[in-house]
Each structure stands twice: as structure tokens, then as C-alpha cells.
Symmetry: C2
Subunit: 406 residues, 2 copies
Amino acid sequence: MALKVQKYGGTSVADISRIKNVAERVVKAYDRGDSVVVVLSAMAGVTNNLIDLANSASKSPDKHELDVLLATGEQTTAALLAMILKSMGYSAKSLLGFQAGILTDMTPGKARILDIQSNRIKELISHGYIVVVAGFQGRDMNGDITTLGRGGSDTSAVAIASAVNADVCEIYTDVDGVYTTDPRICDRARKINIISYDEMLEMAILGAKVLQIRSVEFAKKYNVPVHVRSSFSEEEGTMVVNESSDMESVVVSGITCDKNEARITFKKVPDQPGISAKIFSPLADEEIMVDMIIQNTRSGGETDLTFTVTNDDFEKAKEISEEVAEEVGAEEILIARDIAKVSVIGLGMKSHSGVAATMFSALASENINIRLISTSEIRISCIVQAKYAELAVRALHSAFGLDKES
Amino acid sequence: MALKVQKYGGTSVADISRIKNVAERVVKAYDRGDSVVVVLSAMAGVTNNLIDLANSASKSPDKHELDVLLATGEQTTAALLAMILKSMGYSAKSLLGFQAGILTDMTPGKARILDIQSNRIKELISHGYIVVVAGFQGRDMNGDITTLGRGGSDTSAVAIASAVNADVCEIYTDVDGVYTTDPRICDRARKINIISYDEMLEMAILGAKVLQIRSVEFAKKYNVPVHVRSSFSEEEGTMVVNESSDMESVVVSGITCDKNEARITFKKVPDQPGISAKIFSPLADEEIMVDMIIQNTRSGGETDLTFTVTNDDFEKAKEISEEVAEEVGAEEILIARDIAKVSVIGLGMKSHSGVAATMFSALASENINIRLISTSEIRISCIVQAKYAELAVRALHSAFGLDKES
């Protein structure tokens, strides 16, 4: 007899027959005696179609009105699932974001949840209802509809799980859990049974697109146990939970690879105070997020300054850099687009030494040159040439003992 | 400087380019100095598609959840129009039913408007906004979404016009007004410039499907001037207003024809008290609406009892009648499906005598036999054989001087 929040993504509700499968899974839990709150995404592809429709209406669609438009996607799936559950003889009720009491700030397109006024959900649960909440959406203080950004339904689910004090928030998706690395790159990748919020955050940020980053932040903040699992199988997936001392016995939990970055180098800039500010302020003004920054001192009072940005921001960043180059006295701007960021992630790094050394040796033994290095408390990332990315991932996966037993 | 409510139907917002046309028309009024509240239907076909989707999810979709699903149609068009208006540089804001304060009863699928809490609309108007309201939808006392039934956006528009005390409620549609009769039947049909609510009600009920009946009832109750006009031309359409003494100078305003009825006759039933109750009670129990009822006394204490029902109800009504026939001692049940109801409508009937005589003569001169007659204060209807329907309409149109000058 648990209280479960179950979230189903777009591929799990892609058509009526799949929504019926979701209904079967929901009533299975309900029939076991669990209380169930279901949170749904829009049918796969629908959100993109609505965005295309908006773009055909306006070159730069008003973001508030885009929210109103996009919210129809989850409204549709929520109504359909509630209908199906009712026709199966169960008490069920759909709630849109505003009805579910999901109060957000007023930022259109990527609103943040401020509060969940969960009395309506709780009341329905207490009357034996299966509650079906339209994910991705909320309302702001004016009563206007807001949306939570890409993957926002994950955040809806975790926030609701926190508000109703659910025993678990199950995130149903088209993969059966979080893997030690991308199985398409490394066929020895293993499903991770349990992982900490912090490791999951590093994994999410670095491209293992299983969970929206903000939903993990939310889960961590309110200590909501999250179970990432497949809607197409009965197998257990990956539990994302608070870190425990047990976890640190595993040095590295996962390896990630991100090819969505490009590198820009200011060659031979004078090594003077204020140079960095001159370079990075105009980038910040354009809201370009700089990821890694490295400065190498050369002889003769000169230095090379290298940083990375996402591919989306690259052209703009390059343009700005070329404008700034002369001002700061750089000899030239070098660029590299064919790079990849390979990272090893693990809580165990906090207590184990030698992780960096193992990483560098593993790459060296494959003759992979490291261009940039950055670290956090539980992550080490290296920039390598893109062509070596997959090889690097496999080498590291093996070096840190992550390969599955064959 | 007027306050206008403009309602655009499904064909007027069928795609992005048509919604852009609507935007052009809206800003034309706004630029003239009018305040404009726009009420929109869903894109033509969308509501039916959503109903099909619901039917594929469930054999008998829950009506509350169907409301939630259908409401996405108007939400989509409202957001798109507001987007387009904003990208044209105007202040615009979409409001869904619940945001526009449209409070209804709790009847799913055909909720009745109880109240319009119009403060939000009024506030936006006072700040110079073009307000775009999703038609067809409201919210009940639980905060749940309701819909107002087929053509409900007309009712939304009239109700909002009443609540904000608009100077006029313009109903934009794909015809350029209300005609003296169906132009497809009679090429001499003329557009009516002005018509009373009561005449419009009779016209609407009898099949001139330009305006939803309830919207006209609403307009009459709150004395809202309604202007029915085409969204594809600049021409004036038909004003639907309170009756004035002027109007009675026109004897007959319009001729209608309805082929959606069938006739059932109980032949030779004993002319005793209680027989009618025995026949009509079981029909009422099945919610079958009986339209016309005629009883002819025969000699010998027997009578023939004839009534009409819509074609949708016919099979069920026939079945019930056959069950009842023996009980009431009827000799047999006669049926006729190939009938048509031809009606003349006009406020002038209140003060002019001889309308019935003119009608019967006109039909007689074409050798059209009248099977049943029914009347109201401003309408006379005759049932004729279906094959004579068009001829009857043209004969009456001419007899009452409605033919346009050629």
C-alpha cells in the first residue's frame, strides 16, 4: 500500500494503444492497493508540431501564448487516459496544471515551480480516485498558463511526489534505466541499479538525457526517491536517491560523452589583469554559457586562453571573440568544432585518490591526446578530438571496471 | 468608438492564413478606435477529429473528460490569434473559458452559462488589450472545464457581449447573413437586413443553421444586438434585435424547410381519455422529442393520432409505438419517412390575418397536399411529401412577396 506518482513520457503515450498500455500499468498498481497519481507528457511529436504551427503564425511567437498553445498537448493525453481508466471501471479524473495547484513563477517557456497546492489531488486520492495530471504546465500568479520547459513533465512529477509525500516517483520512459554509459557507444554498458542525485545531475548535464536536470535538482532538494524505468517492460530500472556511504565504495558510476561543444582559443594574449573580463563580459552579455575555461601561461608574459561553448552558441561566440581579439592584443583566434567532452562521474572520487591518474593513463594507452581538463568534486572531464570519443568512452568504461560480465 | 464582441466560426479560423485574415479584420476595428473582444471556435474539423480520438479511446467516452479534450480546440485558435496580433504589434491576450470567468452549471457536453465574471476582460480592455477568448468552454463550480455544446461559441460571444455591455455582438460565419429561405432551394432568396430574436429563434429551430438557438435565447434575454455577417466580405449582414413595431409591417420574414422528421400514425384508436398518455409517456421516458401532434376524430368513437419525431429518434419511436399499439387497441401503425416540414415565419402574423389562408392557397395552387399543420404565434408549419418540399418553399417565397427584385 504505497502512494506512487507515475510519469509517462511522450513515447509511452504516443497513440491510443500505448495510452491503453499505460492504463493497464496504472491499474495494476492500483489493484495491488497502491494510490496512484499519473503525470503525462504530450504524445511524442505533438509539442514539436505545435511549435511548428506557432512558427507559421508568427516569426517570433509570443512566449506566453506559446505556453497556452503547448499546454494543449498534455491536456489531450490526460483527458484520454482518464477516459480510458473510467471506461475500464475505475474512478479517475484529469487535472490540468492549474487545477492540480501547480503554481509557478511568471517566466514563459521555462517557468519554475514555486509551490504545489495539492489539496485537490489529496482529496481525490482519499476518495479512491486515480488522478491524472497534465505534466509540463502550471499557472502563474495572474492565473495564466505557464510551461516548465523541455522535459518539464519530469519536474511536474517529482514536484507532485514531493507535495503529496509519495513513497516513490516512477519515471517511465523508453529506456529501462540509467546506464554506465551510452549502450550505442559501448556494448558493455550496464544498467545502474542505484545512483545518487548528484551523480545523476552530472550524468544529466553531460548528455544522458533520461531525466530533466531540474527534476533531479528538485528530487534532491526535497529528497524524493525517483525510479527511472521502462514503460515497455516489468523490469526494475534505476533508483535515484540520496547518497549513502555505501555508494562511495564504487569509485566511478558512469562515463558520459558530449559532442555538442566547440572550442575557441585566444592565442598569445598579454598576461595582464582584466584580460579575462574583457573576453568573457561580452559573451555573458549575449547570454552565451561558457563551459570549460583553461589558461596556459607561455613564456614572455603571454598566455593562451581557451574555452568551450555549446554548438548552438558557437557562431555568435566566434563572432564576438573575433571582435574582442584585437582589443585584447591576441595574435589570433583558433577554433575547433570537432571535439568531444568525455567525463567520468562517481561519488567515490570524494574518498578515492587516483581517479584522474587512471583516466589519463587509460586515454594515453589508446594514444588519445587530452586538450582540456576540468573537474568537479565528483567528475573529471577531458576534451579530446571528436573522432576518438567512442574509443575513449570504451577505454574508460573498461579501466574503471564498469564492463558488464559476459 | 464602440465596444464590439466579434465571434469567428470554425471555417473562419480553419488554418493559419485564415486566422491571419481574422487578425486583419480585428485590427481594422481596433484601429478605428473600437474596443474588441474576439471569441473563437476551433478550426473547422478539429472538434470532430477530437471526438473520433475519444471514440477510439473508449466506446462511451466520459463526458467530463471529453470536455477537457474538446476544450483544446478553442485553446489552440485563441493562442494562435493572440500570437499573430502580438506579432503585428498590438497588445493582445488569450483567455480560456475559466480565465474569462465563464461560470457554467455542471452538465458536461452542454453546460449552461450561469454567470460571466468579466472583471479580467474589462480590465484588459481598459488597458487597451485586444482580448481573445476561447469560445465553447467554461468552468463549473468545482473548477472543472465544461463545454457548451455544438455552436456553443455563439453563446460564449453573446454572453460575453452581455457581460461587458458591448454595443454589438458580431457573429462572423461563412454566409453573409440570414436569408429569407435557403438560397440553394430558392434562387430568389434575399438576405434579411433586420430580424427579431423570436423570428430568428423560429428560423434557427427550423433549420437555418446560422446561429445556435441558445445564443439567440441569450441575446433575447439580455437584449444583445447580434450582427450575423460573413468573415470573407465587408458587406453588412443581418441584425438580430429586439422586435419593434416597424417589423410587423412585414407579414412573413422567412420560409424554412426541414426534412429531418418522420411521421407515425396510430390508426383507429378508441377515442377515450388516457389514450394519449399511454402513447406519449413511454416516448418521453426514452427522451424522444415529439414535434407535431394531430388527432382527427373519426365516426364510431375512433380516432387517428399522428405525430412527428426527428429521423434520429424514428426507429426507437417506431419500436415503442408498435409495442403500445396493441395495448391501446389501435388497428395499425402507419409510418412515413419521406416528409418535409415547410414553415412560414413572421412577427407580422401577430397583427395580420389571412397568413394561413395565403399559405394553404399557395400550396394548393401547386397541387401540394398538406398532411399536418401546426402553428405558433409567429409561425405556421405544414407537413408535405418530401418530393414537394422545394416546390413548396419557392411557391411560398413568392406568395409572401419575398422574392428579390430581378
